[in-house]
Symmetry: C3
Subunit: 266 residues, 3 copies
Amino acid sequence: MFKNVSVTLEKVRKEKPVVHHITNWVTIYDCANVVKVFGASPVMAHAKEEVAEMAGIASALVLNIGTLTSEMVDSMKIAAAAANKKGIPVVFDVCGAGATKFRDEKCFEILDSVKVNVIKGNSSEVARIAGENVRTKGVDAVSVDKDLVSIAKSLAEDRKCTVVITGKQDIVTNGSKVYIVKNGHDMMAKIVGTGCMAASVIGAFCAVEKDHASASARGLACYEIAAELAVAGSKGPGSFKEILFDAIYNLDGTTADKMASISISE
Amino acid sequence: MFKNVSVTLEKVRKEKPVVHHITNWVTIYDCANVVKVFGASPVMAHAKEEVAEMAGIASALVLNIGTLTSEMVDSMKIAAAAANKKGIPVVFDVCGAGATKFRDEKCFEILDSVKVNVIKGNSSEVARIAGENVRTKGVDAVSVDKDLVSIAKSLAEDRKCTVVITGKQDIVTNGSKVYIVKNGHDMMAKIVGTGCMAASVIGAFCAVEKDHASASARGLACYEIAAELAVAGSKGPGSFKEILFDAIYNLDGTTADKMASISISE
Amino acid sequence: MFKNVSVTLEKVRKEKPVVHHITNWVTIYDCANVVKVFGASPVMAHAKEEVAEMAGIASALVLNIGTLTSEMVDSMKIAAAAANKKGIPVVFDVCGAGATKFRDEKCFEILDSVKVNVIKGNSSEVARIAGENVRTKGVDAVSVDKDLVSIAKSLAEDRKCTVVITGKQDIVTNGSKVYIVKNGHDMMAKIVGTGCMAASVIGAFCAVEKDHASASARGLACYEIAAELAVAGSKGPGSFKEILFDAIYNLDGTTADKMASISISE
């Protein structure tokens, strides 16, 4: 078991990395805010004229195609190229991949033209990016027949990156090591925004730790531990989400290490 | 009195219809989330390249012109044409109609070029669409001198659709039957988003019930009953809105049927 | 000490001014909602075809470049020209000024082509607009070496407007009078949106009071007093923000006058 998650949590809080997002219009507030309550500094900017310079003052770049347009994808590529040049991690949430041909094409366009360090999505989104013939039901996952760990590992090897599949148990792999994060709560799936926020958390954690697979696993564990704590104090998905921000802000490192449930295999 | 609202509520929860939105940037999260806590599956997508395909995997399409641009309206028309072809309901929230000439023109452009199944707005918005000479004060309703039921009926007949006027009492009509939904609470008007969410709820309910007038009335009743329950537990509009999501998620069918207050006339 | 803040608060509640915003996609909901819970009427519209007409039915215009594009800035200039013509106040939140060259250029383009009545930002944003050589860290303030009151006064004189620098203590000046607003709480800096909302509050207060410096000081004090009250009932930044909306809505004029902490110097 891999327990020491607070080491990266404390680094995020101390270094307060700027996390530049080009993301969707639905959960843009949540993405910014989750980074903020973790103690880091979000910035959202998508004009093609400034994204390279903004990525240049950031410590991580998070891309999310939830409400993509061609122009937004162009900005994403410019920002990611600047991030690549600077050597900061690029996290790509392939939100809705598998729902339309346009999304699939734009995902591959991004993946083929810039270096992405972490690909993140739910089971059917990531399966689609890995070449499987699945159709995502909008932005909600559909069940995938194949073994998800194998899909993730093979995609990580192909793209030479870290792959994260979120779900009841999250799979995080760099192609060799596989982390299974078992924290979290079903309530996270009952509200809009928890998936997008996961990518932002991964961005903040990868900003301060070079091993992106362990950083992603630690970030997800901290986030989901806070969710477990928040559910206890909530009466439904509405109050849950507000209390989640409180719980992240108040998350104590010792508690996080104690509650972390991550298994590793090679 | 029309009491049986839970039959459609339970269908929404069981069938989990995908509700595709092209909506405004202010309340886009709320629109997605209200659909989610009702147990359905929201998807927001507005790129002209994908809206037809996205509507094609959906069971309802919700359009809202709150922060319209010409490009967004073009996407709305493409999506609505695809929805028409597939035979899924199109709900149109004429948000801010009557505030500017541009909004009025774009509303009529949409209504004249595609089939809209439910037109929804507040009193002055709908009156404007029905051809009355009223000026909306931004997005807040101004009082309308004429009889609203007559305006709604005549618009429903003209456009061969269901018309919903939200307010202290909601008017829902298909031109012959008129439902008056008396649920809800003044607090709903004290916070941004409740009007937009009403259209999304109507979308989710019309996705699973072919009679759009009764589906709209049932959806509004369930939503507003949850609001009544939420007000009891809240201390102001901020806490009200979070608790509203809890109350929708926790809404029990028997309670809904007991609290529903809908009158019908022909 | 300047205590009488409720006089403007009550005017906002009574006159319910329409506050037109062209703002960013991150906090657009918060900006609309803070205006709403203060009792005024927000409207968000950015299409170049309608912004002049929308500003024409408004009593104040709030511009925020948090997620600017060239097109948005064009709409801002059209709206501001209409606001100037009508004689309603224009509040400009120079969000992220100093972060990229593009933002700086667009800020000056706006300031040089239309009349802005209130320039608002954090210390490094306003310092940058005043010509200082500072680099904003995304949208979070960096420390500025020079005396902020002098910077604000000199900018107010140069641009013949009111300048607001938000922070632990807010500086408000029209170039001669200087108001220091000492209300508020550190928790406001722990959550996304409080800075943007401050500009919206200023817009609502300036809509009903011609002396923009005192209106801004009063608006900030009311808003920050509500924040002080909200912190007492909250368990972290998530619950704080919801309770803040409750506290604004429930803010009693007598309490506001009692708690107001504003010093004035000439």
